[in-house]
């Protein structure tokens, strides 16, 4: 009995000690946070962490053709995936050093906050509350989208005819809120049928459980393009013209990771700028070696920039924590913005989207990069 008793005392004391230590950590933690605040925001080392790790982890979609889609063999590809490759090429130097984590709409921000991945490139709309409450920092918009309504061909020609309809929508998206607002503004009744994921929604839509399917126009275009022939194929569906809301899709990172966010932002801008300057995956290596006196191109590619005063040409370091030629690897891997768009979303793909407002500002669209200098 004495032996058992001593064990009990030791155990209780040990637990006490652990708890006491734990308590101290809680209080010290506040001081540590303030200490870091001098150097950068609390917890701002993600960029260095990614560089050291040598791999970039991206949160992506695997159910939207064109943007992030798994055709069934486990190789997820799409518009957003190419951006992930570009980020990897720029930050760690290898476009294939990526870990793709498919994530659904409900969990994407929680997973980002938990550090399940570094950057979210998953056709995510930039909104004020996501920046505020969810703590997401959005880089430059990589696709200007809008919310639209898809219906069975011939049933409706305009959303105004859809009073009282059942509308299928996925939960946890801006789509849900916009749907409610849009119909309320027009004094139309509707019944939202809210699913967790697209596959179940699609089954319900096929069985005519609902009259309309609302989501981003690009998503709907992708889904329509892949509509099975035994259900009527793409011609049996129509995407109505009305734009229900603005959906600027942008890559997102934690807003406590300023350096990392700046790097991501620079890459997106760089890809758009490359198209503006005529730098493509075919000529990027040559232009990097010899920019031919073009200052902006030299700046972009990390080549020596001619000095207007006639002094020595030096490459520009933007102070982002990246290699000087970070854009070269990115552009040679996936091409400039126009090439990425054409490869996954353009008129020659199943989605067949026009550049529309995603064209460069010099071509009538609104894609406008900040100068990299």
């Amino acid at each position: 009995m004495r032996k058992g008793f001593t064990t009990k005392i030791v155990v209780i004391l040990a637990v006490f000690a652990l708890v006491a230590v734990g308590c101290d950590r809680g209080d010290d933690g506040d001081e540590v946070a303030q200490g870091n605040g001098d150097a950068a925001q609390a917890g701002g080392d993600l960029l260095q962490e990614v560089i050291d790790r040598g791999t970039l982890r991206c949160g992506v979609n695997e159910t939207v053709p064109g943007f992030g889609f798994d055709p069934g063999d486990g190789n997820i590809d799409g518009f957003d995936i190419d951006f992930c490759r570009a980020f990897a090429a720029a930050i760690v130097g290898d476009p294939e050093a990526i870990e793709l984590t498919p994530i659904d709409a409900d969990n994407r921000f929680i997973a980002l906050q938990n550090g399940d991945y570094d950057v979210l490139v998953r056709n995510t709309t930039q909104t004020a509350s996501r920046e505020g409450t969810e703590g997401v920092f959005f880089a430059h918009v990589n696709f200007y989208d809008g919310q639209a309504m898809m219906v069975r061909e011939g049933e409706f020609s305009s959303i105004d005819e859809m009073g009282g309809a059942n509308i299928c929508v996925t939960s946890g998206t801006t789509t849900e809120l916009n749907l409610a607002d849009y119909f309320q503004q027009r004094d139309l009744d509707f019944t939202p049928v809210t699913f967790a994921e697209n596959p179940q929604l699609q089954r319900a839509f096929i069985r005519e459980r609902c009259d309309g399917w609302t989501s981003d126009r690009s998503q709907l275009a992708g889904i329509r393009s892949a509509w099975p022939d035994n259900q009527g194929g793409p011609e049996s569906l129509a995407i109505l013209e009305e734009v229900m809301s603005k959906e600027p899709l942008a890559p997102g990172v934690l807003d406590t990771e300023i350096d990392f966010g700046d790097a991501i932002n620079a890459v997106v801008n760089g890809l758009i700028l490359a198209e503006e300057l005529g730098v493509t995956s075919r000529n990027v290596e040559d232009l990097a070696a010899d920019p031919g006196g073009n200052g902006p191109i030299a700046s972009l590619l990390g080549a020596p920039v001619p000095d207007p005063e006639g002094g020595e040409a030096v490459p520009v370091d933007f102070g982002l924590g990246l290699e000087l030629d970070f854009m070269v690897g990115a552009i040679s891997a996936v091409g400039n913005y126009g090439e990425i768009f054409a490869r996954h979303l353009g008129p020659n793909t199943a989605l067949g989207l026009e550049r529309g407002i995603n064209a460069l500002w010099t071509d009538g669209g609104i894609q406008y990069a900040y100068p990299l200098r």
Binding site: F5, K8, I12, V15, F16, V19, A20, G22, C23, G26, D27, G29, D30, A33, A42, G43, A105, D106, F109, I110, Q113, S129, T133, E134, G135, G164, A165, N166, S171, G172, T173, E176, L177, L179, A180, D181, Q184, F190, T191, P192, V193, T194, F195, A196, Q200, R203, A204, R207, E208, R209, D211, L254, D255, T256
Partner: protein, 393 residues
């Protein structure tokens, strides 16, 4: 030594009474510090991300619609309101489902003990299949393969023109109270009282003279006559509202959505399998002598079951059935996958629109725990009510 033993106290660190109390105190302190540590850690981590722990968001406008709700709701209501919409939705399916599952389960349990070979085998097949397939799979099956496969709205199945079933919902006629609905309610109460007394009168006649009482027919007849009388006298007691096929949905009557039906049918079928086994075990647990004594008294097998065996069996089954009720309540969370707006579904949307995952999670925990405890409490009261007096616990 013997005479002084009682007056000598052992040293504190060996005194059992002191140690017992010290142990309890130590345990309480440990629990307290662990909880405090969790709280501090949470606020610290959130603070690092520039966010705070607060429930104020519950007053903000929700902004999203919910397709079925048993309490009034519009997208302009607050998050707090929509949370309660979710809770009432889950409670509704639980309330109805528990009753149906118990009835079905009891029949199932009795069927498995039937002398009829076919009934026994059907019961066995049912239990063995249903018990071994996950509840989620069953719910999705019922919804996708059965309910969504029901004809579309324009081709709704019509039941004599009174009720309709389509894959957008089912609707049955309902009463719409007119101006005299209140007074008619008094007539209904009077009808119930009259029926009660008629039943007593007929039973008395049976006791006194042995003539068959037919008391059920008499009392039901009385009830209907008085209620009809009330309807005729008052004029505008109620109207019968028949459902119709509308443009996009069924219109009128009491409606059941396909999602509600999917969760209900899926969980009732699933839980009934377990309740069936519990009932079967409880019937077998009633001592054989009871059945034999009942038989000796001349009761038919159905009467033996109804008056002697089943009441005792249900007493034994109560604690296990309570478990199944709690499972039913928690399994309503699976309704998320078929778009039923229950608690998990709506809190997921709330999290995405408002953030504050930790606070919303705490609400989730509290509500599931709270209702589970309430169900347990109620069942325990029931249990105590039927426990044999003087029985060992």
């Amino acid at each position: 030594m013997a005479s002084s033993a009682r007056s000598v106290r052992p040293p504190l660190w060996r005194d059992v009474r002191v140690l017992r109390v010290a142990g309890q105190v130590a345990f309480v302190l440990v629990v307290f510090f662990v909880l405090r540590e969790m709280y501090l850690n949470a606020t610290f981590q959130l603070g690092q991300r520039g966010r705070d722990l607060s429930y104020d968001f519950l007053d903000s406008r929700a902004g999203f619609g919910v397709k079925e709700h048993f309490i009034d709701y519009s997208p302009n209501n607050s998050f707090w309101r929509v949370f309660w919409v979710a809770v009432t939705n889950a409670l509704a399916v639980t309330g109805v489902g528990i009753v149906l599952a118990t009835v079905l389960g009891t029949f199932l349990g009795i069927a498995r003990l039937s002398p009829n070979w076919l009934l026994r085998k059907i019961g066995q097949g049912y239990v063995e299949t249903i018990r071994n397939i996950p509840a989620l799979v069953q719910i999705i099956f019922w919804y996708t393969a059965v309910i969504l496969a029901i004809p579309r709205l324009e081709n709704s199945i019509s039941i004599f023109g009174f009720a309709y079933i389509s894959n957008r919902g089912a609707a049955v006629p309902t009463l719409r109270g007119g101006a005299d609905f209140g007074p008619w309610g008094l007539f209904v109460v009077a009808a119930v009282v009259a029926a009660f007394f008629v039943r007593r009168w007929r039973t008395k006649i049976f006791d006194d003279t042995g003539r068959p009482h037919y008391r059920f027919l008499w009392s039901t007849g009385t009830f209907l006559v008085v209620a009809a009388l009330g309807y005729v006298v008052l004029g505008d007691a109620f109207t019968i509202e028949l459902p119709e096929i509308g443009l996009r949905n069924l219109v009128g009557g009491i409606q059941v959505s396909p999602e509600f039906a999917g969760v209900l049918v899926g969980l009732v079928v699933y839980t009934a399998a377990f309740i069936g086994e519990i009932v079967r075990g409880s019937i077998l647990a009633v001592s054989k002598g009871q059945k034999e004594a009942a038989e000796a008294l001349g009761l038919r097998p159905s009467q033996q079951l109804r008056y002697v065996v089943l009441p005792q069996a249900m007493r034994i089954a109560l604690p296990s059935i309570t478990n199944q009720y709690l499972n039913f309540w928690k399994n309503t969370s699976l309704g998320f996958f078929i778009a039923y707006p229950e608690i998990v579904n709506i809190t997921r949307t709330m999290t995405n629109q408002a953030g504050h995952e930790l606070e919303i999670f705490s609400l989730l925990i509290v509500i599931y725990l709270g209702v589970s405890l309430a169900i347990s409490l109620f069942m325990n009261i029931l249990n105590r009510g039927v426990t044999l007096r003087g029985a060992t616990r």
